[in-house]
Each structure stands twice: as C-alpha cells, then as structure tokens.
C-alpha cells in the first residue's frame, strides 16, 4: 500500500480528464518557457531604447514586426519581458510551495499523528495564522526590510502554510489508526519509519492538491505585491510589476496591461485545472 501514490486505474482516468490535459499543457508550456527563457528571448529584456517607447504589438495598428508584443514605456521588448516574467512567477510559485509545504506538512502531520496537547497547539497556530491579514503583513515586512526576490519567497512561504497544515492534519488523523499503520507498529517499526514510509506516502495525493492551490495563490500574491511596489524589485520583469509600470498608460494603450495580466490569468488557471483534476480523481472536496 505504501508508495502507491497513483493507482493505475486512477492515472488512466486522469488522462481522459480534459481539464487535467489543459492544466498540464499550460503549466508544462510555462515551465519550458521559464527554463529556456535566456535562449528563446528575441531581445535583452532589460535593454532600454527611449526612441522606441510604447510601440504597439505587431498585430495591432502602428505595430512594428520587430517587436511581436510591442515595447514598454522604456522601449524594452514586451515579449522578452513577458518570457522572463514566466520564470519569476514559476520560481516564486515553486519555492513558496516548498517553504510553506515544509512548515505546514510538518505541523499538520505532528498534530494529526500525536493528537492531544500537540494537536491543540497546532490547531491554535492554524487559527492564529488565519486571523492575520496576509497581504498587509507581507507588505509591511517588505517595506521594513526592503523588498527582494528572496524576501517575497520567504514571506509568502511563512504565510501560506495554513492549508497544508489543515489537510495534512486531517488526513493523518484518518490513517493513523488504519490496519497497515498498526501492522507497521507491530512489526517493530520506529516512529520515523511509520511517519515517512506509511503516513506521508498515503497523504501525498491530498497534499499535491493543496500544493497546486498554494502555488496559484503564491503566483497571484507575488503579482499583487509587485503591483503595489513591494514585491519583486525593478527592473526584474515580474508580471505584476509590468502591470504596475504600465498602469499610467492603460487609458491610452489598454494592451500594456492586457498582455501581462492575461499571461498571469492563464498560468494561474492552468495550475488550478491541475489541482481540480487531482481533486476529482480522489473524489474528495478540499475546496475550503
């Protein structure tokens, strides 16, 4: 039983789920772009050309075939910046999930496994975390410490672990007393063995669903923080920062905010599709 994360029947059902395929396509495409960014950008995304500012995309009136998605307010190639922005969103999403996952899963498994006083403490930590307004605290910390890429990852990681903890706790509780866990105890397995070989593999699919939800949330929050000027610092081409810098021109040239915003929306939608398909496959409702 342990180690069977995806039973064969479920895996094949997953492949027939169109939402899953769309999710895989979007996230896979974004991952490839993020990895290959330096080799596929047509121009240097940081190269400023003040003589060619706010050139519209090539398919619009007044566009220039040299710049597929036009140029920004400093004449930087929008397509190249968008490609590098994929990298920022993906890296922030993945690193945040790893940080928050480590914190949340540790707390949740400990609470669910030991119960009693330990569990009370874990539940209290979750309740406290939920009552703290995350965006506001993230903004305040970034303002005090000065924003940087690493700080955004750490702040989001330390704020978004609640759902990991909730799900890890409840699923651990459910399997704690199942026969195969008792069997492992009887066979003389150590506490560490039971946790790492019996408990974790069997809650992994549930945690995978949470991971997609948190990744989507992390990408959205990074964009919001960067939009407010306290996320990823310029001149890095975060999509949120691109929208923020283009905001002044949006009433004349709406495409300057449509392009990075649409990219953000599609990526987050793709991540959500993945999570939704995983959830359907398990037949459990973790939407809250």
């Amino acid at each position: 039983m342990s180690g069977a994360v995806l039973p064969a029947g479920r895996a094949s059902r997953l492949l027939r789920n169109w939402g899953f395929m769309v999710g895989v396509a979007i996230v896979g495409f974004a991952a490839i772009i993020a990895i290959l960014a330096p080799w596929i950008v047509p121009y240097d995304p940081f190269a400023i050309d003040l003589d060619r500012r706010l050139v519209p995309p090539s398919f619009m009136e007044g566009g220039d075939p040299r710049n597929f998605l036009g140029t920004d307010q400093l004449g930087r190639d929008y397509f190249s910046r968008l490609i590098y922005g994929t990298r920022i969103s993906m890296v922030i999403g993945v690193l945040t999930v790893i940080t928050s996952g480590l914190i949340g899963i540790t707390l949740g498994v400990l609470g669910g496994f030991y119960g009693g006083k330990v569990d009370d403490a874990v539940v209290f930590a979750i309740t406290t975390r939920l009552s703290i307004p995350a965006v506001l605290v993230a903004l305040a910390v970034a303002a005090l410490r000065g924003s940087s890429f690493l700080l955004v990852v750490l702040v989001l990681g330390f704020l978004l672990w609640d759902r990991f903890a909730v799900v890890a706790r409840s699923t651990t509780m459910q399997i704690r007393n199942l026969d195969y866990v008792s069997a492992a105890w009887c066979a003389g397995a150590s506490r560490w063995w039971v946790l790492s070989r019996e408990v974790l593999p069997n809650i992994a699919t549930h945690l995978a669903v949470v991971a997609t939800l948190e990744m989507a949330l992390a990408i959205l929050l990074e964009a919001a923080l960067s939009f407010l000027g306290l996320g990823v610092p310029p001149p890095l081409p975060s999509w949120g920062l691109m929208i923020s810098e283009a905001k002044e021109y949006m009433f004349f040239d709406a495409w300057v905010i449509v392009i990075p915003g649409a990219a953000l929306f599609v990526l987050v939608l793709g991540v959500n599709f993945l999570g939704d398909a995983l959830r359907d496959m398990m037949g459990t409702d973790l939407s809250r």
Binding site: S131, L139, A140, R145, A216, L228, L230, L264, S287
Partner: protein
C-alpha cells in the same frame, strides 16, 4: 451550550492576544524602527532624537507591555505622519471599508447562491460544468488586474461609472464587483455541495412523496438546510475580504482602512500599520466566533466539537 461558548470565547481571546504580540514583534524585529522612521537622509543624531522622542530607547519588554496595555484600552498611540490619534484615523476610515466589504459580500451571494443551486439541481450536466468553470475562472482572476480592466472598460470606454474614489455610491460598484470575485468561487462550490447533500436526504424524499411543488421543495426544504454552512462561511469570507481590501482600495483610490494601511506602510508610519493589522485580525476573529456560535445554535451536533 454555555461550556461550548466559553471554550470558543477563551480560544478567541488567546488568539487575539497572540496576534497582538505578533503585531508588536512585526515592527520591532524587522530592522531598527528608529532608522526607518527617520528616513534615508537622517544623520545619526536625528536617529537618536527619534529613538528618544518615540520611546524606542526603552527596553523591549517595557515597550511591549506599554503598547499592550494601551492597545487593550483601544489606544493605539499617535500617527507619526497624520498627527492624529491612530484610533481616530481608523474609525474615520472604517465606514468605507465596511461598506465595500458588505457590497462585495452581497454581490457575491447574489451570484453564488443561484449558481450553486442551479449546479446542484442539474448535477453532472453541462450547466453544472459551466458553473464549475466559472468558479475556476473567478479563482484565477488577479483582483488588481480585473480592477484595472473594469476601470478601462466601464470607466473610460463606456463612461458608465467613476474610475476611482468613493464620493458617490456608484464609486463602490466596480471595487465591489472585484471584491465579490474573491468570494464567489468558494461560496458557489459550498452552496452546490450543500444543496446536493440536502437534496439527497430523506426529508426531501418525504416532501416529494407529499406531492409538494418542485420550487417549494427546493426553497423550503433544500435551500434552508444548505444555507446554514453558507451563511457561516459568508461571515468568515467577509473577514477575509476586509483583510484583502488593501489591494482593491489602492487600485480604486478608496480611502478606507486598507488604503490607510498602504499609505502608512509607504510612509513608515508604523503605529498605524500595527493597529490596522490588529483591527482587521480582531474583526476576523470576531466573525469566526459568531459563525461558530451560529452553527452551534442551528446544529446541536457541532456543540461537542
């Protein structure tokens, strides 16, 4: 019932005290507050003056208990920038934020309840799938971007609504819609699952057997039972929405508490930031407590929890 209430209340007070402590630590542990207040061009002398005037030279424990004692009496000190009591500032900005939150919540309920019921009644059909897709789209929508797009379309191109500010009631429509989007996905899903569960129960079968009309079964028997968790979650959602209003208030230049926090963060006005974090957390704690009690009163099975 009383024991349940007291237990929940004690936990809520403990959580509130923890948040109070965290709010204090937030500003004291992330760097030297005096340096932040004095600004980038300050000399070492200026920093010393700031430290003395604001009482930052005292031991941390003294500062903490001083702040804690005052905060418990509703006194959050004086704003560095606005030259006013922090409590006055928050009180004067709160109506805008609460109005925005309520507009958002009402809009969210108006959309989610019918959609959730429709999806549940036609479970598994294309209508159900369409509602699910709509919820997914709402969940993936970046709120600040949606806000800007609505401003361009409805404010500029169609010129139906004001682009920013809250001088008239119309100013609340666009930000309310954006805020509603953050609650619609979860409220719709919850209504749907609650309705599906209610429709599958014995009392619905009995009602059908009695020959009641379809509408009367849906509304009186189905929805009334499905609504209990929805109302409770709606209260919690309102808490989340107030906490998340900082982004939307900034986008639409609505001068509520979120905007105040944003202004204060950029001006290093930390007594205000601390207080806003605290007030929003307290509102959330209060709303969750209410939701718990509401659930317990309506559903006695929950009281043992």
């Amino acid at each position: 019932m009383l024991r349940f209430f007291l237990r929940r209340f004690a936990v809520a007070v403990l959580v509130a005290l923890t948040v109070l402590t965290l709010a204090f630590m937030l500003t004291r542990l992330s760097g030297d507050l005096a340096v932040s207040i004095a600004g980038p061009n300050a000399t070492a002398e200026d920093v010393e003056t700031v430290r003395r005037v604001y009482g930052l030279d005292r031991p941390l424990t003294v500062q903490y208990f001083d702040w804690l004692g005052n905060a418990l009496r509703g006194d959050f000190g004086e704003s560095y920038f606005f030259r006013d009591r922090v409590s006055n500032l928050i009180a004067s900005r709160m109506p805008v934020t609460v109005t925005l939150g309520l507009v958002g919540l009402v809009l969210a309920l108006v959309v989610s309840l019918p959609l959730g019921i429709l999806a549940a009644v036609r479970e598994g059909s294309w209508v159900d799938r369409l509602v699910g897709l709509f919820a997914m789209i709402g969940q993936a929508m970046p709120s600040f971007w949606l806000g800007l797009m609505l401003m361009v379309v409805f404010g500029l191109q169609l010129a139906w609504l004001p682009i920013s500010g809250a001088d008239t009631w119309e100013g609340f429509i666009l930000p309310g819609v954006v805020l509603a989007f953050s609650a619609i996905p979860s409220l719709t899903r919850l209504t749907r699952s609650g309705m599906i569960e209610a429709l599958a129960s014995d009392y619905i079968r009995t009602a059908r057997a009695k020959g009641l009309t379809r509408l009367s079964i849906l509304v009186k028997h189905g929805f009334r039972n499905a609504a209990i968790p929805v109302v409770a979650i709606a209260a919690v959602q309102l808490g989340f929405m107030l906490g998340g209003s900082v982004v939307i208030e900034t986008v639409f230049a609505l001068h509520g508490v979120g905007y105040l926090a944003w202004e204060s963060i950029s001006k290093n006005d930390f007594p205000v930031v601390q207080a806003v974090v605290l007030v929003l957390a307290l509102i959330y704690i209060g709303l969750t407590l209410l939701a718990d009690l509401f659930n317990a009163v309506l559903d006695p099975r929950l009281r043992s929890a």
